[in-house]
Symmetry: C2
Subunit: 370 residues, 2 copies
Amino acid sequence: MASFFIKQETMVNPHRYCVIMCGGIGSRFWPYSRSSRPKQFIDFLGIGRSLLQMSYDRVLDIVPPENVVILTNEQYASLVREQLPGLADHQILLEPARRNTAPCIAWAAYHIAARDPEASIIVAPSDHLITREGVFVDAVLAGFEFVEGNDALLTLGIKPTRPETGYGYIQVGAAVSGDIHKVKTFTEKPRLELARVFLESGEFFWNSGIFLWKADTIIKALKENAPDVANTFERGAGLFGTPAEADFIRENFPGCMSISIDFAVMEKARNVYVECVSFGWSDLGAWSALYDNSPKNRDGNVTQNCSVLAYNSTGNIFAVNGEKLLVVDGLKDYIVADAGDVLLICPKAEEQRIKQMVNDVKLAHGDKYL
Amino acid sequence: MASFFIKQETMVNPHRYCVIMCGGIGSRFWPYSRSSRPKQFIDFLGIGRSLLQMSYDRVLDIVPPENVVILTNEQYASLVREQLPGLADHQILLEPARRNTAPCIAWAAYHIAARDPEASIIVAPSDHLITREGVFVDAVLAGFEFVEGNDALLTLGIKPTRPETGYGYIQVGAAVSGDIHKVKTFTEKPRLELARVFLESGEFFWNSGIFLWKADTIIKALKENAPDVANTFERGAGLFGTPAEADFIRENFPGCMSISIDFAVMEKARNVYVECVSFGWSDLGAWSALYDNSPKNRDGNVTQNCSVLAYNSTGNIFAVNGEKLLVVDGLKDYIVADAGDVLLICPKAEEQRIKQMVNDVKLAHGDKYL
């Protein structure tokens, strides 16, 4: 078909890659997020694209589409193919076991380095929300330039907007280039009083879990700081990018230790930097995060995908699949989540107990409702 | 098939009839009770029989099965035939419009009188609960004997067990025979303080809406006390029990005034008596009545037809259709009723507002959810 418009191709660097981590089970969003269809595969905001699809869309201005690599559990292979039909098979790496982020990131690095020894990589979760995508793109482009010119492990630190106790924090040290600083310390989720001090100090940023580095920089850092993890993949040298890779992973990945990249590398390495950014980010880690990031009606209720008639009800999140009418009276600050065969009614303040509830459901009913 | 046992036929008087009123829409039990399938057609207690079927079963020791007459709205004809397949067509009288109890009872009386001038009748709602059926049968047999020997309109008055504000009360006068007394007054639903006085006095009984009379006694009482209603049916003299009855009703019933039998006759007539009884009765008029009459777990929760995992939750009624798992935290004294396309969450104390909610739903969504 002829067209009067020619889309201007964005100049993207062919050595830049994006790894999207997509293997989580999102149990804090149960029953909306199910082990058979976790939260990253759900159109959480009701806009027609799942969180994974949004994560994919937003990196297409940064890396060539053929340089996007999805890491996921093998159980979700068909979901990924269904939601991102443009991907080639070699762009989807299927983990045969859940081993936290370090083994996942290590495999991706060895896989990409075998394909392109000059590769630089952004690693991003598939289930986060970013509202200001233009600012995100500019920040990532600046980050790529930094890691490509330096032997650096770079993490994105989000300028905090509230004394959030659900996130880890990064204390920044000296500025080295633009918004990029040396990292002074990583800090676990703080208590509220400490979170307030962090917020006021201006020195602490939320740990986003989004990383940039060259493939060879992270491989070197793994060898130095997490040799057990690195050795697993060193044994496959020469197999990555070949038809033998899948068999090698199936045999060796499950034996790798389960450890996060923060604990394995970032908190130990000396060449760790943080780019201080602000682009409307949330990890959508639990219902209250979704509540905070969703439009509310005048009673402060958030409604997802359903018709609601609410009386004397404020501060709730109503998430109901399908063509259901919800009639509610006298509920304040609750989660009401209906997922067909499971209905959850729980105070927002008790959402940290949902994981325990899921365990209880498993004990009572097996996997039927998970 | 041969049998070694011969069921002993209960001697039932062939002039005794039972009219079961079955046309209500049960909107106080919405969304469990829907206009397309109101509460009397639902297996409310999860025992395999609907309230209508239970009402039918319990009169078979009192009247011959062919003397049971069901009055219902024409919209429910197929539901009645499905639930009571043994009935002949002439035992199902289909009202073309909703006109409260007096026109319904009047039609039944004219219809039965045409078939059997010596008929005596028990009139009973289809959606009440009676737990002690043997006591009920004995009371009704005594009542039939009384009305067959006297020019009497008899109502069953239930000995109150609590200061219920949701029922009408009957004040009893002098005893005339066994448990049967003259009625002194009918009283509307009292406020709580008054209900307490009623309960302590021993003189007040709940108005059950169950009546006994001879067909000619109620027809005479209608002529004297509600001539407008009686005249509607007098115009059909000669047609009842003939093939012309249905057309006559279709043309004339909708024009009849809408009025309750209490207001039209019982509160006016002089020959009104009450039989004071106690057989575990509830009108199941609303969710709290169902709650009161259902077995509770140790947290005081009532569960209907569903699996529930409840935390910090007491005094609730959980009524969920189908194979659903309900997980609840922090709910006290609520109704949670899921009927497929509608989910209601409402404090038990606010159940009188459900009718208003149904109206609001109709305004917003038409008949879709009614």
